[in-house]
Amino acid sequence: MRFLLDTEQRAFAASLDAMLTSAHTPSAIRAWAEGDHTPGLALWSRLADAGVFALAIPEAYDGVGPLPVELAVAFVELGRHGVPGPLVETVAAAALLSGLDESGPAKRLLPALASGESVATLALADSYALDADAATVLLAVNGAGLRLAPGHGPVRPSVDRARRLARPEPGGELLATGPQVTRAAAHALRWARLATAAQALGAGLALLDRTVAYVRQRTQFGVPIGSFQAVKHQLADARIALEFARPLLFGAALSMTPADVAAAKVTACEAAYATARTALQLHGAIGYTAEYDLSLWLTKARALRTAWGSPAECRAAVLGGLSGDGPRS
């Protein structure tokens, strides 16, 4: 038993943090929101070089994984920096392809995902696909069929302007079918939820850090607003919520059971969302503006809350994962 990140894992987080800090990530986020993918994709290939996408991909397909703990470490940093793009979706696509019984589609598509050469997105059932216009691989699962979609419908803005949503078009090449697809889709959902939980935790930590910095320097009534208890206590609550989401995230990465992952997802997303509400409140009016960078995390926290499983779905999955039958009523 040693439930702590090791030195290498911490160094990995620190190196991603340093890279993303120096990379002008906020301007890449803003460009992405305007439909200009160039700076975002440049960031993407640097993340791929750092090995981020290889973490979800088995060695047989040029990856280094599956390494869910390291993946969670990486996605906390991606969330902290608000990196745009179908990051979670690429990881989920990788999990989906490597979870199939037949290895053909994985052999064909995964090496390019691991290297960052291609960008994937996917829609399980009839959900939206994130950033289909930026993706080179658009996967769609309908019932027991996995398709390579030929294109996508109109791109619609999300409440988070850096997330853009579209439906895959029908048709396209059938990659796999049968119960293997259902199983692989469930596997992909777990990875998507884990990565989303980590991303949300990261977003929440960024919101907290920025708000703490702000309330230390903003003065009203002749003192920093951070010296008021009503301000302090809201931030203390945000810290508590985030600190108790973190162990659930890493516990889920270790077990990867559907219930643990769902618990991490709902807790991290609720913590990030509550922190976003606090952050907005404590910034006053400036927090409500699009031009101030805080907005980049504020809206993401809202969007991640329902991405890959609403709070209610995740809570149901937690109870569904307990031993014994469901409710006896």
Binding site: M1, R2, F3, L4, H233, A236, D260, L319, P327
Partner: protein, 381 residues
């Protein structure tokens, strides 16, 4: 990162489980907040101690098993999963004993710890006073120098289980004119049945005579019952409060067991259309797991030699609010039955309500989190 236990720790778990299976009373003991229950729980402490299960984390010479923090967590998980009784000796075991390990003399440890381990001497914490609650350092009860010891005077209050306990430990002002209120305090132990002590029980919210106020009138305490240096009482009391206490005041095992019982209750009382209640049950399950894993992470750092310090305030707020939410959910699931007093759930509920008040109120903990963990400026107290 690793959550699996070593084979030796699992063997320890199995040993604890087997012992508990054979010994946990099949009928729950009466509430330890009553005289009858107190006696029954004292006997249970003796039974635990007879096989060295009452203080597993202490060195063997004092009746423990030298268990490290992880083994202590394992033991607690098994203890509460087995439905074993609440611990009447908790104040002594979790507050006074760590203080004696850090600041006591060999003689004090040898004299005080073994009868604490067996439940022969049950300790009460005498910190609060009528005018010194959150602002504990403003306390005014006195310790005045006399031949071979000290004479205590003044009043203490809200002393849990002091009505039936044997001895108490607390802070007293020994130097009246210091520049700062937390200077000149002395930490000492005294006998609740010594001449000059009057114990007046106070009914709790549910009417049980659990805690008490203490009136002290020239109560003699010999020098050997002073812990640490006279005048240094604040430092002595605080050093243990922040560190180990943050890990061991409330074990996750207790909440894991309660969440399991809640899920059982939900399965038998569930209205499938009530998804709001279902969500609260799920949150109780998640909260217990979060608290367990958070504690394992703290324990890992503790084993690495890090001190826990102000982070224990995160724990305190979390478990105290969690405990209330869990019990409220149970009462709501029970419907009209939830109103009945003296059931396990309603007793637990009433007890949980005090969590945000004792052990440092949650407002004070939030100040600590904001100032010492987030680095926000000190404001007016």
């Amino acid at each position: 990162m690793d959550l699996t236990h070593s084979a030796a720790d699992e063997a320890f778990r199995a040993e604890a489980r087997a012992w508990l299976d054979a010994h946990v009373p099949s009928v729950p003991l009466p509430s330890l907040e009553t005289e009858e229950g107190f006696a029954a729980h004292r006997a249970w402490e003796a039974e635990l101690a007879a096989d060295r299960w009452s203080v597993v984390s202490w060195p063997t010479e004092y009746g423990g098993r030298g268990a490290d923090i992880v083994r202590w967590l394992v033991f607690e998980e098994e203890y509460y999963a087995a439905g074993a009784p609440g611990r009447v000796g908790q104040n002594g075991i979790s507050l006074l004993a760590p203080t004696l390990f850090d600041h006591g003399t060999r003689e004090q440890r040898a004299r005080v710890l073994p009868p604490m381990a067996t439940g022969e001497v049950i300790w009460a914490q005498a910190w609060s006073e009528p005018e010194a609650g959150s602002d504990l350092a403003s306390l005014t009860s006195r310790a005045v120098r006399t031949d071979g010891g000290w004479l205590l005077g003044g009043q203490k209050t809200w002393s849990s289980r002091a009505a039936f306990a044997d001895r108490a430990f607390g802070l007293f002002r020994s130097e009246p004119d210091t520049p700062k209120p937390h200077q000149g305090l002395t930490y000492l132990m005294f006998d609740l049945r010594a001449p000059g002590v009057t114990v007046r029980p106070i009914g709790r919210l549910d009417g049980k005579p659990a805690f008490a106020e203490l009136f002290l009138d020239d109560v003699f305490v010999p020098d050997e019952d002073v812990i640490g240096e006279p005048g240094q009482g604040w430092r002595v009391a605080m050093s243990t409060a922040g560190n180990e206490r943050g890990l061991t005041l409330r074990s996750p095992g207790r909440f894991l067991a309660a969440a399991d019982r809640l899920v059982d209750l939900w399965r038998t009382h569930c209205d499938p259309s009530d998804t709001a209640l279902r969500d609260r049950v799920a949150d109780a399950v998640i909260g217990a797991r979060a608290y367990q894993l958070f504690t394992y992470a703290s324990a890992s750092r503790f084993l690495d030699g890090e001190s826990i310090g102000p982070e224990s305030s995160l724990n305190k707020v979390f478990w105290s609010e969690y405990d209330i939410a869990l019990h409220e959910t149970a009462l709501d699931l029970l419907g009209p039955e939830g109103e009945l007093a003296d059931t396990d759930w309603s007793e637990g509920y009433v007890f949980s309500l005090a969590g945000p008040v004792y052990a440092g109120t949650n407002e004070i903990q939030r100040d600590i989190i904001a100032e010492r963990l987030l680095g926000l400026p000190k404001g007016r107290r």
